[in-house]
């Protein structure tokens, strides 16, 4: 069951040989492999989004690979589905939780390995299989069965890794790493694993039932019974693309919370590290993360069980969705409170973290309109919703991933990314995404212009055209800006300039107590002992965070 060998083997075979194996069970290798999967998916997904925008602005232009896009709405919906599945499953879910989590969780809690290394390896390759399946379903004319199977496989993989994360956090913490001393990142991964455990087993059951309906002719969700329970206006437009979309949202609703939770952890961690201050109201932050997890599950449960059944349900949903704002507001207050009066080092990583906070505020404000069930009918139009969730979920989470990547790059690969290029990349991307998604909100509101008198309506319609062009140009700009990232990333990897210190950011958590890149054996020799919380100062006004693994005695010696 467990193929972990106890270091005696590691010295026998060469270290690099073992970590270089494709089917490795080492948590660091698996974490990096998840990040590579995400990197590949994010670029394909981004190119697809650019193609979609170009098509929206200039429907007549010939788009490579996607001929006949405008003639068949199904094809158009399929491109959107591929963009959504790649981004949501393999970037937003995979990178912050499975990529960074697998690499860093054992390091941050002082463990040598995840609890079940073979299971971890299995779940990575199930994820890859699911990626292959979803991509292949795009090239098939009737790809929905394949897509569903891939989603079921992804759920299974997510369940296995959630199990692994839970057990690792509960049982493998090193001596002294009590629950209150865990870094906020670990808390976020842990809470997210519990949430995934609950959500993905239900998704798996749903997938099994739908697949059995489609392939074996069973009657779990017979179309007639399903449509009878839906609002009448939805039934009328129940064409194929709508069904595709509804299926997708069934998953995406749960995925929002799964994607965002680890990002909250990463941002809290980075903000505290670079402000050289303890996390402001750390207990409250941890409680908020638990709160987001819990309300996340309830909101989603509402979608699952109550749609179209109960007239009071919209009210319940509205209250729940708004109550998500309470823990989110606490998190926001804590980030700003930590930054306040901090001696902030403006590295690329902290810029992306601040960018995340900015996007989170902007996206959250438009979310208030959508959470009100009476307002949302006016505000719900394709573009408004797309603008909202891309800001708050897609782009914000990507910023958190990039912030984490710049921060942990030395730990992952043993060298630093170029700061100048990184900052240029940040500013181009930051301005770009605002130019894409803010006008998109306007475009959404313009569809309500039927309420206005005729003359104004025509003027607004022509304005809509120019806004659409602005959005498309901004998209091309933003996608182009990612070339800077590619140059920076591959250049840093190829040059491999050794990082000058093991702890370049003067961070306090355990992963920085070992050399960079993290060695084959996490903690060579005896396991580390933790003496204090993750974000504690060395002295009352020292402006330095105290490493968790230094005993009070050696810390005092170092200060002298």
């Amino acid at each position: 069951m467990v193929t972990y060998d106890d270091g005696s083997n590691a010295s026998a075979s060469t270290g690099s040989g073992r970590s270089g194996r494709v089917f490795s069970t080492r948590h660091k290798t698996i974490g990096r492999q998840y990040l590579w999967v995400s990197l590949a998916s994010v670029f394909v997904g981004m190119v697809l989004s650019a193609l979609l925008r170009i098509h929206a602005s200039w429907p007549d232009s010939a788009i490579p690979f996607l001929g006949g896009l405008d003639t068949t709405p199904e094809r158009f919906a399929a491109v959107r589905l591929l963009h959504g599945s790649l981004m949501v499953f393999f970037v937003l879910t995979a990178a912050p939780q499975l990529g960074f989590g697998n690499f860093l969780l054992p390091l941050q809690i002082g463990a040598e390995e995840m609890a079940f290394p073979s299971l971890n390896c299995l779940s990575l390759w199930l994820t890859v299989a699911s990626l292959a399946g979803m991509t292949a379903s795009f090239f098939r004319s009737e790809g929905i069965d394949l897509w569903l199977e891939s989603a079921a496989i992804f759920s299974l993989a997510a369940l296995f890794s959630a199990l692994n994360f839970c057990v690792t956090t509960i049982t493998l913490r090193t001596a002294g790493m009590t629950l209150p001393r865990m870094p906020v990142t670990v808390w976020a991964w842990f809470v997210n694993a519990i949430l995934s455990m609950l959500i993905f087993s239900v998704l798996l059951a749903g997938c099994a039932a739908i697949l059995s309906d489609r392939m074996l002719g069973s009657n779990f969700f017979s179309t007639a019974a399903f449509l009878a329970q839906q609002p009448a206006n939805l039934v009328r437009q129940a064409s194929l693309p709508v069904l595709w979309q509804r299926l997708f949202w069934y998953f995406a609703q749960a995925e929002v919370y799964v994607a965002m939770l680890p990002c909250f952890g990463i941002i809290t961690h980075l903000v505290a590290t670079f402000s050289r201050k303890p996390v402001w109201k750390e207990r409250l932050v941890v409680l908020s993360i638990c709160g987001v997890g819990m309300t996340g599950f309830c909101v989603w449960g509402y979608h699952m069980f109550a749609t179209g059944m109960n007239p009071y349900a919209p009210l319940v949903f509205s209250v729940l969705a708004s109550s998500l704002g309470v823990p989110a507001a606490f998190l926001l207050a804590s980030w700003l409170g930590t930054l306040w009066n901090g001696r902030i080092q403006f590295t690329t990583s902290v810029l992306f973290a601040i960018g995340f906070i900015s996007l989170f505020i902007a996206g959250g404000l438009s979310g208030i309109f959508l959470a009100r069930h009476d307002l949302s009918r006016a505000a719900v139009s394709q573009d408004f919703v797309i603008g909202h969730f891309h800001l708050v979920m897609g782009v914000a989470a990507t910023f958190a991933i990039l912030a984490g990547l710049f921060f942990w790059f030395p730990k992952l690969f043993g060298c630093r990314m170029n700061e100048t290029l990184g900052k240029a990349h940040f500013w181009l991307t930051f301005t770009g995404v605002y130019c894409i998604f803010m006008p998109m909100h306007w475009m959404g509101l313009l569809t309500q212009s039927t309420l206005l008198p005729e003359a104004q309506r025509l003027a607004l319609a022509s304005a809509g055209e120019s806004i659409r062009t602005v959005v498309t140009v901004a998209t091309i700009w933003t996608v182009g800006a990612q070339l800077l990232f590619v140059v920076n990333f591959s250049g840093s990897l190829l040059r491999r300039k050794k990082v000058e210190a093991d702890n370049p950011w003067r961070a306090s958590t355990l992963e920085w107590s070992v050399p960079s890149p993290a060695p084959e054996e996490n903690f060579n020799g005896p396991a580390p002992v933790v003496y204090r919380g993750a974000y504690e100062l060395t002295g009352p006004s020292s402006g330095e965070l105290a490493p968790q693994h230094l005993s009070p005695g050696s810390l005092a010696q170092k200060a002298r």
Binding site: G110, C166, T168, R173, T178, V202, F220
Partner: protein, 224 residues
């Protein structure tokens, strides 16, 4: 059971630092580990048995969620107009007794192992495995009885649910049978996991499968 020699000192330091608040050490050796044979292990290596107990507990919760999702779909769906209740074949009651008996023999086997009577353990363990297989065969026979009556998976929602409940439970129980065979046949490397721990973890899963089956049967019998 504390692991390394230096643990008491560490405990002291932590006690002092934390002011008595949360100064307890993380679970070291999995307090309820079978036979006291894990005392010499290092605490945070991935071979403390605690993670197997935690793992199976969380795994059971997850499997329970899977069946709860189906059960709630069952309760919602049975209000529909196209619902035709399934008459449960009498064979299912026999199968239930077989499964309950297997839980009993499993406990007897573990008692033998605790008395370090390896032969007795193997005998009862084999009986448990056979009873599990007999239950699975019985379930398939029950399906064939229904098919003879003309009730298929696609006949109506109630029959769909009957087949998916029994089928999904059967697949999960098949996993349990594999675990039983695995525990009986594998030569355990005591540095990683002992047979006692493996048998205990497997028994939790097996009893859970037992209880789950009683729940599903009650659901299908009472909720038709």
């Amino acid at each position: 059971m504390p692991g390394t020699t230096s643990t008491p000192e560490i405990e002291l330091i932590i006690e002092k630092k934390n002011g008595g608040g949360g100064g307890k050490l993380p679970p070291v050796g999995g307090g309820n580990g079978g036979g006291g044979d894990d005392s010499k292990k290092r605490p945070n290596r991935p071979n403390s048995p605690g993670r197997y107990y935690t793992g199976i507990a969380i795994g059971i919760i997850s499997v329970l969620m899977f069946f709860m999702a189906l059960a709630s779909a069952f309760l919602v769906r049975k209000g529909g107009a196209d619902w035709v209740p399934v008459r449960i074949p009498a064979l299912l009651w026999v199968n239930t007794i077989v499964l309950l008996a297997s839980s009993g023999t499993l406990e007897l086997a573990r008692k033998r192992l605790a008395l370090s009577d390896v032969q007795g353990f193997k005998r009862f363990w084999l009986v448990t495995t056979i009873l599990g297989v007999v239950f699975l065969i019985g379930q398939v026979v029950a399906w064939r009885i229904l098919v003879k009556q003309g009730i298929y998976l696609a006949s109506n929602p109630a029959s769909s649910f009957f087949y998916i409940f029994t089928g999904a439970h059967g697949v999960h129980l098949l996993g349990g049978v594999c675990a039983l065979i695995f525990v009986a046949r594998r030569n355990f490397d005591a540095a990683k996991i002992t047979q006692t721990v493996a048998a205990e973890v497997t028994s939790y899963y097996w009893h859970f499968m037992d209880a789950l089956w009683l729940f599903l049967l009650a659901l299908m019998y009472l909720g038709k």
